[in-house]
């Protein structure tokens, strides 16, 4: 009987696992296993929803798999249904409609959902999150030229849709409870540059603002705050964080690292604490590449790498995972902002440089000779004349010894390129592959999407 793989969740982690299982089987000539995908939604990429909102792509562009493409990959699909409970002893998943699915091994990749603070009015009309495709559709229907949009939360998610809201012809105000914007992606100095840039581009910012109530007044929203005047809005977008979808595992005996918010603790093969169960993406508390600590990295690149590593292991390979590198990039009004690794580390040697007249900022963080974190900010027109964005990733990822360059980089934090080249970082990186094999098997389709 062929091995029965069960993938719970049709996001980035789940689909990468499926594709990798098929790649591995194709590569080693094994007879195909049985793959079942359970997914509450039809698979699409959340990463590209902001571009759908901005009107630069059609809705059809967001899907990462179709019923036809999944059939071509010989995947049995159970779409529109949610996992309700898992019995790891009998290896059975129960769905919300009571159907039971038996498996030989199982990947939990149920991702996360938007979280809203318990404030009166957050579930009222005209108040949306922006996380799922359905939520994106609602925001698209609500935001029209001249709409007054208030975004609650000035984090990464809010910033990914900022351009799109403006592109729809809306006016935008962002309110944030923290004393500054992007509190979990950049430091205070960088946030200051970004804030000034946004204000120059017509975005209203209010930081240190605690929302107390959203009132519906004759079809319009009125936001009340602990201090300061209320704000009027046609549409409110709540970008107040995400929450991992783990509640359904409460009785599963899987180690959720303390509580339902902790994440599924995984080992270096992304195995959970019970037999034949893997976890990947936003629900997995796995190894941080730089520190070795077990953390949730709810970012797309981690979901992708987790998914591929699990897929290879499910297919019978023995693939350990080095760990994931925390990283983010976002562009607002043609200003690029990116951070890598441990950018907020008071115990590091920290070198920064600012070119205020050009809105440029750099930050390098070292432990001895190793770059453990980095930040880069500047106008797109400047950033992309350099190789620096990727090179900073390469230096942090490779952990190459920069001892000889530390003094030069302290004096010239913008001058990373000669350091990257002369320390032979390229040679260090070239043998590195996530799965211990090249990805470039031309005979294999890269995407599960059948065009």
């Amino acid at each position: 009987m062929p091995t029965r793989h069960l993938v719970v969740g049709g996001g980035t982690a789940g689909l990468n696992a499926i594709r990798t299982i098929r790649e591995e089987e194709f590569g080693n000539g094994a007879s195909p296993s049985e793959i079942t995908l359970v997914s509450a939604e039809r698979p699409y990429s959340r990463m590209v929803l902001p571009y759908y909102l901005g009107g630069t792509i059609a809705e059809s562009h967001v899907f990462t798999a179709t019923p036809a493409s999944l059939a071509a990959w010989n995947v049995k699909t159970m779409l529109g249904r949610r996992a309700a409970s898992l019995d790891a002893i009998s290896r059975t998943l129960t769905l919300d409609d009571g159907v039971r699915v038996e498996y030989d091994d199982c990947l939990i990749a149920t991702g996360s959902r938007a979280a809203k603070p318990p404030i009166p009015g957050v579930n009222g009309p005209g108040v949306h999150c922006f996380w799922t495709l359905d939520e994106a559709r609602a925001v698209i229907a609500g935001v029209t030229p001249g709409s007054r949009v208030v975004m609650v939360g000035a984090g990464f998610i809010a910033f990914t849709i900022l351009n799109a809201v403006l592109a729809r012809g809306a006016t935008l105000a962002i309110v944030e409870v923290a004393p500054r914007i992007l509190p979990r992606m950049v430091d205070a100095a960088c946030a200051e540059i970004v804030a000034r840039w946004l204000e120059q581009h017509g975005v209203t910012l209010r930081t240190g603002a605690t929302l107390t109530k959203i009132e519906d007044v004759r079809g319009q929203r009125k936001l009340h705050f602990k201090k300061g005047d209320p704000l009027q809005a046609d549409v409110v977008i709540m970008a107040t964080g995400i929450r991992a979808n783990l509640e359904w595992l409460a009785d599963s005996k899987i180690d959720l690292a303390g509580d339902a918010q902790g994440g599924i603790l995984v080992d270096d093969h992304l195995r959970a604490s019970v037999g034949s169960v893997y976890a990947a993406g936003d629900v997995a508390r796995g190894r941080n590449l730089v520190t070795g600590a077990a953390e949730i990295h709810a970012i797309e690149p981690t979901a992708q790498e987790h998914g591929r590593v699990v897929g290879a292991n499910m297919a019978g390979r023995d693939v350990g995972y080095r760990g994931s590198l925390l990283m983010n990039i976002v562009e607002v009004c043609h200003l690029d902002i990116a951070s890598f690794g441990q950018w907020d580390d008071a115990s590091a040697d920290v070198y920064t440089a600012v070119r205020p007249e050009r809105s440029q900022y750099r930050k390098l963080l070292f432990h001895d000779g190793r770059l453990t974190g980095a930040m880069i900010c500047g106008p797109a027109a400047d950033i992309w004349t350099t190789n620096d964005v990727g090179m900073l990733k390469g230096l942090v990822y490779s952990g190459v010894d920069l001892s000889q360059w530390k003094r030069h980089l302290q004096a010239n934090p913008f001058d990373v390129k000669p350091a990257f080249l002369a320390t032979r970082t390229t040679a260090r990186l070239l043998p590195e592959t996530v799965l211990g094999r090249p990805c470039n098997s031309p005979e294999l389709p890269h995407s599960v999407v059948v065009k």
């Binding site: 591929r308 992309w384 990805c439 999407v449």
Partner: protein
Amino acid sequence: MQTGTFQPSKSVIRVSPFEGYTSYAPYTCTQCAEGWCMTACPVGAIQINAAGAKDVVDDTCVGCKLCTIACPYGTMFYDPDSQKAYKCNLCGGAPACADACPTQAITFEEGVPADWLGGFAETRTVRLLHGNGDGRRDLARSEVV
């Protein structure tokens, strides 16, 4: 070639000057085995072309820049005008750079991805890091001018 404009700042080959602009080294995509850009793309917009190079399919790329932070070599770029990512695709097998180079410093041949510049850069930055005996330090600036 990749952006359809004559604009050195948009070139997929970035030339680094060393030792006070007395020597130069061109740097571009190695077409690495991992294909970080390709595996990172959420919509499968980076594929392997007939020349074996990773190539951005413009109609599919949404411009999210994930590939630019996934590539650890710094050879994925973003064009603010087209709002798409772009990279060296070996011009589909007939690289314009090799044709254009007047000193044949760039040649196109079959090979294994390698660190073509590390040794050169290492020797050409010795004086930058350690001075050249008279206490003077050379400048190495990486920006394309």
